[in-house]
Amino acid sequence: MAYPMTSTAIEASIGNAANAYSTLCQRVQLPFSTNSVGMPARQYSGLLITKVAANSERPGLLATAGMHAREWAQPDACLSFAGKLLHAYKHNVAFVIPAFIDSTGATFGPITVAADRVKAIIENVSFFLLPLANPDGREFSMSAKVNSRWRKTRSPSATPGIPDTIGVDPNRNFDIAWDFDVYYSAAAVADPHLAASKQPAMENYIGPTPFSEAETKNIKWILDKNKVDFFIDLHSFSLKIMYPWSIETNQSANAAKNFRNGAFDHRRDGKLGNAYQEYFPAHSLTHHKLIAEKMRDAILVATGRNYGAVGGIAKLLSTATGSSSDYAFSRQFTIAGSRQIHSFAIEFGDIDDHFQPDPVTKYPRIEREVHAALITLLEYIAIWSGAIS
């Protein structure tokens, strides 16, 4: 396959998958159309891969990529992953990530997942793949080299005529501590450790309201309408495998310290240390760490690259509000009857790969790393569900 595909080619690929494997997957058109400057409204799709009955209690995974327009590699890698997985199941063969030879000549992999385990995955896990969460952003970033660093959506600006004010950072637009002025101290809001902004011209603009963007509404819709127990959001770059919280560092000792408790409004500092840390149930934290380490280990085997930074997002990066992975995780606390969603975010590749890794010398490694992370997570979910031991 050719990398990088346009948004149109990615949408067509989803349709091709649904046609080629009609008994294994279906194209799911998302309900909210984009509203982007200079572009027609666009409806776009995800791919639901499963042999699980609709009313089954089997677990579900939602994987999203391409939320940030300029991050070109992960959407293509997700689709090639889907292709390999579906092919392996249909032909009753192993899923194989081919060996990788690095620039020093060292060989890593291959990784082989036996056919019976592929069968267990497809027949016991509902896998909803949204390979391109921000199609208009990607189209704009591919429209000219000068636009290649575009990150946000392309929704109209409140101040037309200033190009940088177009769009919203979708990964700050989810409804989790969205209005950071409420949650953090004034000093923390002014501090560079808080990577979210109310200035439309900034790359991390949170938007005028939570879920102001069709792109984030669609992800909420998927979470509302599907049984999702695991969520992973694929980004680039910095070789990090992370889990919530992004709004603060984690602690498991004091359940009262949580984002729903107004007693801590205006008191969060966004810093390391224990002045304020967000509550993360201990058993769940252990589980997240275990899964993240499994993905790290699989990537190391696949390509020899060490995604050594594993942990809570706010411990590894600066703090930020409104992120997809925090939102997915937070639903268990805010929506009555909501399932617990195990939530992850991975930053694939490094600064040398940058946002548009070279198709020949860089992309093949990242593609293998995406495949290693996803097959490891799916295999884990199948084990967790009791389908394989």
Partner: protein, 92 residues
């Protein structure tokens, strides 16, 4: 040709408030914490003058890609953009 290099900036976070005054410096993405400390590492693209200003502030600046290398990186990615979808027939 663009004269922007891909750089990594490391400095005391308090200095980053002055980044907005530096022309031709574009931060790219969210800062990382440096080895579990409050120090931050920023990824950016910047021209030579912006890099000098960063150093004058007291920041450590590492060039990851020269302007030529970055330009070539972006050019190769753009040249490969494809309108051809995956077929999902086993040939992809």
């Amino acid at each position: 040709m663009s004269d922007l290099a891909v750089i990594k900036i490391e400095c005391d976070p308090s200095l980053s408030a002055q980044f907005k005054t530096i022309e031709n410096l574009r931060l790219t993405g969210r800062p990382s914490r440096v080895a579990g400390t409050e120090r931050l590492s920023f990824d950016a693209v910047a021209d030579a003058a912006a890099q000098e200003q960063l150093r004058a502030l007291g920041c450590a600046v590492t060039i990851v890609k020269t302007p030529e290398e970055y330009e070539e990186n972006v050019r190769r990615a753009f040249d490969a953009i494809s309108d051809t979808p995956m077929k999902f027939d086993g040939s992809d």
